[in-house]
């Protein structure tokens, strides 16, 4: 393959002549050439895993979409919406997009650094370790083992495994950088470095918890602080797992496929630094109008709005890379996928800042609008970039022609149409429900006081979403068939070309080829000449540390005040810890994933206080490990649920929601009526809560007895209301105890005690 010939007539794009490779002269001095080969076997492994997990994750996505359209699709306790929804999100984010990132990163890193990966063993450990983690997630999430934090649901033993595998990946990656034969690090590598470092920081700090069993733990943070930490993580998981790694892939694979260099390298550097500087501040926009301090919410909004510019800088850079090559887009499915991916990135990164504006967020939050926004990014940006990359890689990795270009074209059009159907339906659903929630009639009362009315209105859109998702899945099947048939045409043995490249000198010596300037005489001249920045590039350790400092310092300035300045979380004297039985009920609520559909956070809007009651205060959540504010209201908010209905209402409702509310789409939980409650295990859970500073008093010594006493009392009350007998040792009693406690501590007017 020959170097492309840029067609631009702009002077800075004048034809580039690469430095000549100096061959060693026989018997004379010359650079020493190393011989090595690339490890493409690991790339092939990750590629196959990307497809397999993508198919599984999207299939689960279709199932949860159908469950919302018709609750009959909830099967048993293991495959109900509350347990499958996290499985879908984890599978598509960490299994599909994660493996896609690793596929592209292992391929491009070796080539950009002119070095084989540091250790083949570490590469394989990374691959098999990551797949084992995915399998563990696929087993534990349907079993109800969850930390109740979005995209961080996996319990502590799996979290430790993730940290170990991630460190192995990092050692392998940085080891490869250390052995590189290319002095400069291309911008794609910068994006990979930022992703690796930041994901490690996010994962560790958000998952700090105290185990209360083999697959049960409590977050060390509570309430507002836990929410802040979670959405600092949650937003930056999107940023540094779904955005920066894929930007790195874009900056490598888009120029490759277009056979054109990136439009502006300067813009790519600016894109990188602005993303790293700004993204980390944006998390609080997930918590507008909640009990989060106002200043943090505003800070998150401002940085989110500012993010629009660098994001579009990246999009423009991607699209303009195709200048002079647009005719190829007509013929090449790879480029079609890339064009839509970059466009979807642009759309999602315009919409994100818009949604972070408080007044827009007031309408969109808790609705399907957010789901539509996420899927524009996930299906369009991550999905299509992955498809384009893999179609480009298939002939190179399997060393044969792609089985069918026509099939790839069909995949593109079917999936594009699927995205269109999906997002149009769900945007409509989001805006519809948001407007219905806040509608008042001419008498000043809620126009739709019955929550289920606002759900029924969405049903046609939910079915349309299921059709759109099915089309995207059909595209995946076509994709898989093309991969399979291309793989079957692979040669008997793979060629493993031997590459030769000169070693790097131990000390950096600027050469004319590297464009080194004449040393500037003044400090300002040296600064402007970017010598300092070039030094960073040559020293990836320093560069990595500085990237980490940018991320950590920003995080500390934003998060620490909420943890260490009392006035940010005023306490309320009447708020007491949950009783041992209520705590056990809260754990049932968590295991069933109720927080996926029900929020516990009433915003200070009239339409919310009219519907749900007094707005939520920060001091109400000081004993909530973890917080359960939720992010989507598929059902009504439950923050003031306590005392609203009799105990028997809850029992009947859990047993068969449609017996109480005919049009309800909530799954039924009849198993709660029969499943015994683990009274003996309650003590350990109370003890862990006490370790975390919850003032449990007597319960530290006699939690099971206290739980039994309360359970007997509630069971008698249910029986007295005409309900079934013998529920005193079943999970349903604990859940009823918890639901009846919600919001009761602050129902009476209270004066908040605040220490300035």
């Amino acid at each position: 393959m020959t170097l492309p010939e840029p067609t631009s007539t702009r002077p800075e794009h004048a034809r580039y002549e690469p430095p000549p490779v100096t061959q060693p002269k026989a018997g004379g001095p010359g650079p020493l050439l190393d011989s090595f080969s690339y490890d493409d076997d690991i790339v092939r492994k990750f590629l196959i895993a990307t497809f397999v997990w993508g198919l599984v994750g999207m299939l689960v996505g279709l199932v949860v979409a159908l469950q919302l359209a018709n609750p009959a699709f909830n099967i048993g306790p293991w495959f109900s919406f509350g347990r499958l929804r996290p499985l879908h999100t984890n599978a598509v984010i960490f299994a599909f997009a994660g493996n896609a990132f690793f596929t592209g990163a292992y391929y491009s890193t070796q080539r950009l650094l002119k070095a084989r990966m540091f250790s083949d063993r570490l590469s394989r450990f990374h691959f098999w370790g990551w797949q084992a983690i995915i399998v563990a997630a696929a087993i534990t999430l349907p079993l109800g083992f969850t930390q109740a934090k979005e995209y961080a649901e996996l319990e502590w033993p799996i979290d430790i495994a993730i940290a170990v595998v991630w460190v192995a990946f990092a050692v392998n990656f940085f080891g490869t950088i250390a052995r590189r034969r290319e002095r400069h690090l291309y911008v794609a590598i910068w994006f990979y470095i930022a992703s690796i470092i930041t994901v490690a920081i996010l994962h560790i700090f958000n998952n700090l918890s105290i185990p209360a069993g083999a697959f049960k733990s409590y977050s060390i943070y509570a309430g507002v602080q836990d929410a802040f930490m979670q959405w600092w993580y949650g937003h930056n998981a999107v940023a540094f797992f779904l955005t920066t790694p894929f930007l790195g892939l874009m900056y490598y694979f888009l120029p490759k496929a277009a056979e054109r260099p990136v439009f502006s390298y300067k813009l790519s550097i600016l894109h990188f630094w602005t993303i790293v500087f700004m993204y980390i501040w944006a998390g609080p926009h997930h918590l507008h109008y909640t009990a989060l301090p106002e200043w943090a919410s505003t800070l998150g909004m401002l940085f989110s709005v500012m993010l629009w510019m660098p994001s579009w800088g990246g999009m423009v850079n991607g699209l303009l890379t195709l200048r002079g090559a647009w005719h190829k887009v007509v013929e090449e499915p790879v480029l079609k996928f890339f064009v839509v991916a970059v466009t979807a990135y642009g759309m999602a990164t315009f919409e994100g800042p818009m949604l972070s504006i408080k007044s827009v967020n007031g309408l969109a939050h808790y609705t399907d609008w957010i789901i539509a926004h996420v899927h524009t990014g996930a299906l369009g940006w991550n999905g299509f970039l992955t498809f384009g990359m893999i179609y480009w890689l298939l002939p190179r990795l399997f060393q044969t022609q792609l089985y069918s270009k026509k099939l790839a074209e069909m995949h593109f059009w079917v999936a594009s149409f699927g995205i269109l159907l999906y997002v149009v339906a769900i945007y409509s659903a989001g805006v519809t429900q948001g407007l219905m929630w806040r509608a008042f009639d001419e008498t000043g009362r809620l126009a739709y006081p019955d929550f289920v009315e606002t759900v029924m209105k969405l049903m046609p859109m939910y079915w349309m979403r299921a059709v759109g998702g099915s089309l995207y899945l059909v595209g995946m099947v076509l994709f898989g068939y093309n991969i399979l048939m291309t793989w079957r045409r692979r040669p008997a043995t793979y060629d493993e070309p031997v590459i030769q490249a000169p070693r790097l000198a131990p000390e950096y010596v600027a050469t004319a080829d590297h464009g080194a300037p004449v040393p500037a005489s003044s400090a300002w001249g040296r600064f402007v000449a970017m010598d300092w920045h070039r030094a960073w590039e040559r020293l990836p350790v320093t560069f990595s540390v500085l990237t980490a400092v940018a991320v950590i310092v920003a995080s500390l300035f934003e998060i620490l005040p909420t943890f260490l300045i009392r006035s940010n979380v005023p306490t309320i004297a009447s708020v007491k810890p949950y009783t041992p039985l209520e705590l056990a009920g809260r754990d049932v609520y968590i295991a069933e994933g109720c927080f996926n559909c029900h929020s516990q956070m009433i915003r200070p809007f009239r339409h919310e206080t009219e519907r749900y009651g007094e707005y939520s205060k920060p001091g109400e959540f000081v004993y909530d490990h973890p917080f359960l504010w939720g992010s989507r209201r598929i059902g009504p908010d439950l923050a003031r649920e306590g005392g609203k209905y009799p105990n028997l209402w809850h029992v009947r409702h859990m047993e068969d929601p449609r017996a109480i509310t005919q049009k309800s789409i909530m799954p039924a939980y009849p198993s709660l009526m029969n499943t015994p409650l683990d009274f003996a295990g309650i003590q350990r859970r109370v003890d862990v809560m006490a370790m975390l500073g919850v003032p449990y008093g007597d319960a530290v010594n006699r939690a099971p007895q206290m739980a039994h006493a309360q359970a007997d009392s509630i069971a008698r009350a249910i029986e007295g209301e005409g309900g079934p007998k013998g529920l005193q040792d079943k999970q349903i009693v604990a859940l009823v105890a918890y639901l009846q406690r919600l919001g009761r501590d602050v129902k009476a007017p209270q004066v908040a005690r605040s220490t300035p």
Binding site: M1, Y16, S108, R111, Y265, G515, A516, M530, P561, P756
Partner: protein
């Protein structure tokens, strides 16, 4: 004994947020100024071509595997 929270709450640290903002802004402006300074054009030009350069040496040639005897599968 006062806790860390007591100490930090009473330390009057609110002004530090502005200081952090100014430091970040200065760092960012520094990057922007240096990035668009009229130098290093050749360096950036070389960097732009890195992905395409690398491919020239390492792309395994496609092989015509239409002949089944050449295939593994």
């Amino acid at each position: 004994m006062k806790s860390l929270t007591d100490v930090v709450s009473g330390a009057g640290l609110s002004g530090y947020a502005e200081i952090a903002l100014v430091i970040f802004l200065i760092a960012f402006i520094g990057i922007v100024i240096s990035l668009f300074a009229p130098s290093k054009r050749q360096t950036y030009e070389r960097m732009r071509h890195l992905p395409i350069d690398a491919e020239s040496a390492d792309l395994p040639p496609y092989r015509d595997t239409d002949d089944p005897s050449l295939r593994r599968g």
